[in-house]
């Protein structure tokens, strides 16, 4: 039995929405990273679903690009996080309010 594409779209949209809400509402930087990863993986899932529906391999190649770039991005992000943790001894993003005006 073939699963209709609409189901994939809804599933990805929900996963993406959870990611967005997590980024907006959670205060722990690590959890925010995980939520950004969730957003990107929702995209990957949908991309693969479309790719197989359209019988077109370009979508799957794009998924590889997204995975590689996401890994690079998280590496940089965690490095910045470590740098911040060394100075403030915390990963709570509420301390990031020194720059205001």
């Amino acid at each position: 039995m073939k699963i209709p594409i609409d189901y994939y779209i809804w599933l990805s949209a929900v996963l993406f929405g959870i990611g967005v809400l997590g980024v907006l509402y959670r205060r722990n930087a690590i959890i925010i990273f995980a939520c950004i990863e969730l957003m990107l993986n929702a995209v990957n899932l949908l991309m693969v679903a479309f790719s197989s529906q359209l019988n077109d391999s370009r979508g799957q190649v794009f998924v590889f690009f997204i995975m590689a770039v996401a890994a690079a991005e998280v590496a940089v992000g965690l490095a910045i996080l470590v740098m911040m943790y060394r100075k403030t001894k915390s990963v709570d993003i509420d301390i990031l309010n020194r720059l205001k005006g």
Binding site: V23, A42, Q53, F62, I66, V69, A79, M84, G101
Partner: protein
């Protein structure tokens, strides 16, 4: 395309230079290489072509924008030489700056969403690191972290948009997408959501209101050389990508997208200009001003999406030359007095006439006061929007640009007040400031530059 190879090669050379102990040569090699790349852009002007099976397309639009990016980065290397001399990690920094330039050139020359995404990420990841490059300073780390969070959040939106558009049209190639949309009148509804999400993703990058909250904090916290890079090279790249995407791929929808763009224009102009009035730190004021300039750029683009490339290019040229100039002065003042607070500009007219004159020219140009390039940029944008019948929007833009005059004059007033402390400037910086002043006036004298595209 050759220009892209040269810049990319320079970046890799920069990384390898650390191993072979060639640190001294980095600066000269980078400057020379960027000049070579700029020459290639000029040579390629006659030979427009696709590369890599239509993934990259260097047309006049892409070449003109790449030329502007390269010119600005040459000025950048010239001005901020100290950034590579004083501290450690200088080869890493110059490599990252060169990768930012690579990413920006890719973003203006893409013809396939994959290249747009990769260019955007090459640019963004490098600039996250650079924003935090002042490791001793907590503000710099904080700026890097904020920029990273907001940037990758925006990337998520852009990617979801790309996926939905791919699902509806079955292609990543922007010309194929445009043809598909023209050929098929009934499209799945999710393509509209996809287009809107791509717009949100790119609006974050060009820092249009309501997606601008990160910009003032990041601009203030990052080291001034990097702030300059963000407000010129990154902005040119991101705006070039915005224009290319919405004037090629989604041109069929432009009547309805126009309404959203104009909504963004109205709030960008109002919010950015009103908030800028209250700023006392010149760096932060310039950050809000760069958000406000995006409003004028978008006004020009949304008035006539298909034929506004020339106007946008002219405005971006005027804006980025003035921006480099003002940040150069801010950097010199900040280095000597410790902060970019408006009081630190006092007495500049008496003690350092050149710095004061350069700052005056830059701010006059940003405010749009006649003999300088910024005036003609605003003039072209307003002509375009009146010509397409957006009278009310143009009047609003005029009023907000008058507000701009008020906050741009604050540093000028401070500079003419009495103050103490003479700042020593190097002769290379003096020459650069003169060159930039002359370019600013020359661009103002030849508004025909807008006809280039």
């Amino acid at each position: 395309m050759n220009a892209l190879y040269v810049i990319c090669g320079l970046g890799i050379f920069s990384l390898v230079a650390e191993v072979f102990n060639l640190r001294k040569w980095i600066f000269f090699v980078s400057l020379f290489g960027l000049l070579v790349a700029l020459t290639w852009v000029v040579i390629d002007w006659k030979a427009i072509s696709y590369f890599y099976r239509g993934m990259v397309y260097f047309d006049h639009f892409a070449l003109a924008f790449s030329g502007l990016i390269l010119l600005i980065s040459i000025f950048w290397f010239w001005m901020f030489r100290d950034y590579f001399v004083d501290e450690e990690h200088r080869t890493d920094k110059s490599a990252l700056v060169l990768f930012v330039v690579t990413g920006a050139v890719m973003m203006v020359s893409f013809n396939n969403m994959a290249i747009l995404f990769l260019g955007l990420e090459i640019l963004s990841i490098s600039i996250y690191v650079l924003a935090g490059s002042n490791k001793q300073n907590l503000f710099s780390t904080e700026a890097a972290f904020k920029y990273f969070l907001m940037g990758s959040f925006a990337t998520g939106f852009l990617l979801f948009g790309i996926t939905l558009v791919y699902g509806a049209t079955g292609s990543f190639n922007i010309t194929e997408i445009a043809n598909f949309i023209i050929a098929h009148r009934t499209l799945p509804r999710f393509i509209y959501i996809g287009i809107l999400m791509m717009m949100v993703g790119l609006a974050f990058k060009i820092s249009a209101v309501p997606f601008h909250q990160w910009a003032p904090d990041v601009y203030e916290g990052s080291p001034t050389p990097i702030t300059t890079l963000m407000s010129t090279v990154v902005k040119i790249g991101a705006f070039g990508a915005f224009v290319k995407l919405f004037s090629v791929a989604f041109i069929t929808f432009s009547p309805s997208l126009k309404l959203i763009e104009q909504g963004i224009v109205v709030i960008t102009l109002l919010v950015a200009n009103i908030t800028a009035v209250y700023q006392l730190n010149v760096k932060r004021m310039l950050a809000y001003s760069s958000v406000a300039q995006v409003g004028y750029l978008l006004l020009g683009f949304s008035s006539d999406s298909a034929h506004s490339a020339g106007t946008v290019f002219y405005y971006l040229t005027a804006y980025s030359v003035a921006s480099v100039m003002s940040f150069a002065v801010v950097e010199i003042v900040e280095k000597n007095t410790g902060s970019a607070h408006v009081d630190n500009f006092k007495g500049l007219f008496k003690n350092n006439p050149l710095l004061a004159v350069a700052m005056t020219v830059a701010l006059f140009s940003l405010a749009g006061i006649p003999p300088f390039a910024g005036f003609f940029g605003k003039y072209l944008v307003f002509t375009l929007s009146i010509g397409n019948g957006y009278i009310v929007l143009t009047i609003l833009a005029l009023i907000t640009s008058l507000m701009g005059v008020y906050y741009y004059f604050k540093p000028l007033v401070a500079m003419s007040q009495p103050g103490s402390g003479k700042i020593v400037i190097f002769s290379s910086e003096k020459i650069l400031l003169w060159v930039l002043i002359l370019i600013n006036i020359a661009v103002g004298i030849f508004p025909d530059l807008a006809q280039l595209l």
